[in-house]
């Protein structure tokens, strides 16, 4: 018999229990009450520009297919044939007219409708095709970010995003007038619970320590840009519903705002020179100032972050295993030299051979290994509690090295785990 865990004692305002990383029963409950209830990010619209485009994804532990249908609509469908359960799509992305099951060739349209059954005579008076479309999830799109939910009664996506919408809008300004597009992704796994990664996105505290070897490898201007440890303008806001934002480069929060004092980085000299043949100096400056992305990490509960110049997507595999995707972004229709530079910047930090991700991954592995010792010892998320104050929007705000974002995520975790809403 399963007993309901005492959620109140597991997640307190300033600490959480180690069981949050280790208890398989809690993980199962998280899948039911969080990942199968709330809005989960599945794709960016630029990955599905044309009718027939699709990509596969996960909502919690369930595999789904995200499609663009002939009418331009986006569908999120459970990747499972309604007949005997075979998966319909085993490629990460592509374009097609629909999906045909490899087992008995039941075929489905891009919107999930069951189109054809071979040798249908055996099904006369047994089934109606209209009843056996693929299971469809509710879909919401904001600023090109595609979310899905198994919960038919979920609140509108815009309400769920709430205070995060302003920051999503700001994030997209790194397109410098062009829409943002996906340029590829790194994928890796670490042997640890998904919330260890969730915490990390707004953890400014670890940055100069874990990423010392990356800091040593970049030019002085880039290293200086990310020297936020004692910068009073580098703050974290709790945005509600588990979302938070950590500002690392205050002067790049709103890339449309430019007082003209910032020197463009010397490392981008060759780009400035090439762009200057085509664009006026203001336009060149606007594009080049955006090359490192927005000056903040926005964490959207529970599975996606918009992190300076990329999306970080997490997928809980089991209580002790998590898959991470770092999605590289570019300017749709923008200058090729800019998009290539963005790829090189991404490769420098991200992925299993990047100069940053492996060190994050090692730290997270070590957390998972460490918490098996002293299982009754809490995880502390109390940094900055005494200096946390509401900003003019009433959002709890503290320094970017503080654990305000984690406290916000755990408050949402607690709310959803308690009432399942």
């Amino acid at each position: 018999m399963t007993t309901t865990p005492d959620i109140d004692s597991l997640a307190q305002d300033d600490r959480v229990s180690s069981a949050l990383y280790t208890d398989p029963a809690l993980f199962d409950l998280e899948m039911d009450r969080i990942f199968h209830q709330t809005w989960v990010w599945v794709a960016h619209e630029s990955e599905l520009p044309k009718a027939g485009d699709f990509r596969t994804a996960y909502v919690g532990r369930q595999p789904v297919i995200v499609t663009r249908d002939r009418r331009g609509g986006i569908n999120v469908l459970v990747n499972r044939c309604r007949h005997r359960g075979a998966s319909l799509c085993e490629v990460p992305k592509g374009n097609g007219n629909g999906f045909t099951c490899p087992y008995h060739a039941w075929s489905y349209a891009l919107d999930g409708k069951l189109r054809g059954i071979p040798y249908p005579d055996g099904y006369e008076d047994v089934l109606e095709k209209k009843d056996l479309g693929l299971q469809r999830l509710k879909v919401g799109v904001y600023a090109g970010m595609v979310f899905a939910s198994f919960n038919e009664d979920i609140e509108p996506l815009e309400d769920f995003l709430g205070g995060a919408r302003l920051w999503i809008d700001r994030f997209m300004k790194q397109g410098a007038g062009y829409p943002i597009k996906v340029q590829g992704e790194h994928r890796f796994r670490f042997r640890g619970n998904w919330k260890i990664q969730l915490e990390n996105t707004t953890d400014g505290y670890h940055f100069p320590i874990v990423h010392r070897s990356w800091m040593a490898s970049v030019d002085a201007e880039t290293a200086n840009m990310l020297s936020f440890m004692t910068d009073e303008k580098a703050v974290t806001h709790a945005l509600g519903n588990g979302h938070s934002v950590a500002v690392m480069v205050p002067e790049h929060v709103d890339l449309d705002e430019d007082d003209g004092t910032e020197q463009l980085q010397a490392r981008f000299g060759h780009i400035i020179e090439e762009l200057s043949h085509e664009f006026d100096p203001d336009r060149v400056r606007r594009i080049v100032r955006s090359l490192h992305g927005a000056g903040f990490n926005l964490n959207l509960f529970p599975n996606v972050a918009m992190s300076m110049s990329f999306f970080r997507v997490l997928r809980p595999v089991s209580v002790t295993e998590t898959e991470i995707r770092h999605v590289a972004l570019g300017l749709d229709g923008g200058p090729e030299i800019v998009n290539r530079e963005r790829l090189r910047i991404h490769e420098h930090f991200q992925g299993p051979f990047g100069f940053g991700s492996p060190d994050d991954s090692e730290a997270w592995d070590r957390v998972q290994r460490g918490v098996t010792g002293g299982p009754s010892t809490p995880i502390l998320v109390n940094r900055g509690l005494a200096r946390e104050k509401p900003n003019d929007l009433g959002q709890p705000t503290s320094h970017t090295t503080d654990e305000t974002g984690m406290r916000q995520a755990y408050a949402m975790w607690k709310r959803m785990m308690t009432d399942g809403k």
């Binding site: 790194h186 070897s213 040593a216 790829l343 490769e347 992925g351 051979f353 100069f355 492996p358 090692e362």
Partner: protein, 174 residues
């Protein structure tokens, strides 16, 4: 001698053992494998020709690597920074690097030039870290140039069989 996709690369029928240049290239590739397993990265750097390209693509079919996202896309500068990272003592994943043992075989010459040859091979790497032993399989294409200093690597493309899936690698090079 363009670095072609594996599926279309023209392959020599001659055994590498019968071709002195191919044999020299294979010896270099084996020495490289030894140095990487032993994490002797400064010596590894000495195997490279000026302007060398070291690439681990995500898209196994890609040939215009600069236009794609890669796992590794190194010119001389990036390769040297990578070595600095691997030897500086500032990286916690490098300090906890997996031990690796790799073998390289299935050598086939896939291109000839006056001063260079291209060699395709299979590399099987077994790694061990903490309580896990894992395997990474790769197709490798080396372009080896023969200059006054002997053979040097001018291009190395490493195509993981699982490059477009989750790749886990910690503190070592392919």
């Amino acid at each position: 001698m363009a670095s072609e996709a594996l599926g279309t690369a023209a392959l020599d029928t001659a055994l590498v053992l019968d071709d002195p240049r191919a044999l020299a290239a294979v010896s270099l590739i084996w020495r490289e494998a030894h140095l990487l397993d032993a994490r002797r990265y400064e010596e590894w750097d000495g195997l490279w020709a000026e302007g060398g390209e070291y690439i681990v693509p995500i898209d196994r079919e890609a040939t215009d690597y600069a236009a794609h996202l890669n796992l590794v896309y190194d010119d001389d500068r990036m390769r040297r920074m990578r070595i600095e990272r691997l030897t500086s003592g500032f990286s916690i994943s490098v300090a906890a690097a997996a031990r690796t043992v790799r073998s390289v075989s299935r050598f086939v010459v896939s291109g000839h030039e006056e001063d260079a040859i291209e060699v395709c091979s299979a590399q099987i790497l077994v790694g061990y870290k903490r309580d896990e032993t894992f395997v990474l399989a790769t197709d490798v294409t080396h372009r080896i140039v023969f200059g006054a200093d002997g053979p040097r690597i001018s291009r190395k493309i490493v195509r993981l069989v699982n490059s477009d899936e989750a790749v886990t690698a910690s503190g070592f090079l392919l």
